[in-house]
């Protein structure tokens, strides 16, 4: 049973940990977006950089 418990703790723990990293990365970038929003030209939604060829 110890092997089974270890396997489930690792799987669910890894899922939870990855979810947590996604949340904190989004939150951190949210702060950077706020700062970046104060930079010149950032407010222009036509220049968001998305949907363009690299």
């Amino acid at each position: 049973m110890a092997y089974v418990t270890a396997a489930y703790i690792i799987v669910l723990g890894a899922m939870g940990f990855y979810w947590w990293t996604l949340i904190i990365r989004v939150n951190r970038l949210g702060g950077e977006t706020f700062l970046a929003g104060r930079l010149e030209n950032f407010g222009d939604s036509r220049d968001s950089g998305l949907g363009k060829k690299s």
Partner: protein, 247 residues
């Protein structure tokens, strides 16, 4: 009502409350449905599914197989979005491919961790250089290499192009992993759900546990991939803003 049902209901309630506060709209619904299936799947793995001949270690099968399925599914989408990127060169396809690769690597790692945990009590060894295990390890290395390219190649377009080429070529290993138990003589068990003659003759309780886990893991993958794509879009936006401010 048994104590365990109450315990699992309480676990779901805590998870659902967190999701409700964290998410909005379609993502909230997706996460809640995923959580329902995940909590039910764990309950089914421990309290519904029989242990068969392998004893308690059999239960590892219900997280090992869905992790492998999700890793293959994720790498399939890396393959699709990489082809799309190479044809149309749209950033969104690159972000989607990168996101699916990252989530796929998480689940592929879980396959390589849960496999040895199952193998130790059943085979008596943690690892053997069996065809299925070796090709799975190679698959993991290919996609870890993909993520390393995305980090260490600094020029954005070059990084996306190299990644897309590896995303297409790397997928060749997925059918090799799947077919390895047929092509070579291996220790690893053969297909247990769908065989050449149709569905395997497993007890209904095992089907319930396995299919609920497969659905739960797939929903978790879709939710993680969506969140990761949103993060990729945000990163792109910030990078673009900083680049524009430097010009």
């Amino acid at each position: 009502m048994s104590t365990y049902v109450l315990l699992f209901t309480a676990i779901f309630a805590v998870l659902a409350r967190f999701i409700w506060r964290q998410e909005k709209g379609a993502d909230r619904l997706l996460a809640l449905v995923g959580a329902v299936f995940l909590v039910f799947a764990i309950y089914a793995d421990f309290f519904i599914a029989p242990t068969a001949r392998q004893g308690e270690a059999q239960r590892i099968f219900y997280v090992h197989v869905p992790s492998a399925w999700v890793a293959f599914f994720a790498f399939f989408w890396v393959f699709v979005f990489s082809i799309r990127y190479l044809i149309w060169r749209r950033d969104i396809d690159d972000i989607r491919a990168h996101s699916c690769a990252e989530v796929g690597v998480v689940f592929c790692t879980l396959v390589l961790v849960t496999g040895p945990i199952w193998a130790r009590p059943v085979w008596g060894v943690w690892w053997t250089w069996d065809a299925r295990l070796t090709t799975s390890l190679i698959l993991w290395m290919i996609y870890v290499g993909y993520l390393m390219i995305r980090i260490y190649v600094e020029e954005r377009e070059q990084s996306a192009r190299f990644g897309a080429v590896l995303g297409v070529l790397g997928f060749v290993d997925v059918p090799i992993v799947h077919m390895s138990v047929k092509w070579w003589r291996t220790l690893h068990p053969g297909p247990v759900i769908i065989r050449s003659g149709g569905m395997a003759d497993l007890p209904l309780a095992m089907h319930v546990a396995l299919w609920s886990s497969l659905v739960a893991f797939t929903l978790v993958f879709v939710y993680f991939a969506k969140r990761r794509v949103a993060l990729g879009l945000l990163e792109n936006r910030v990078n673009f803003a900083y680049t524009a401010s430097e010009r």
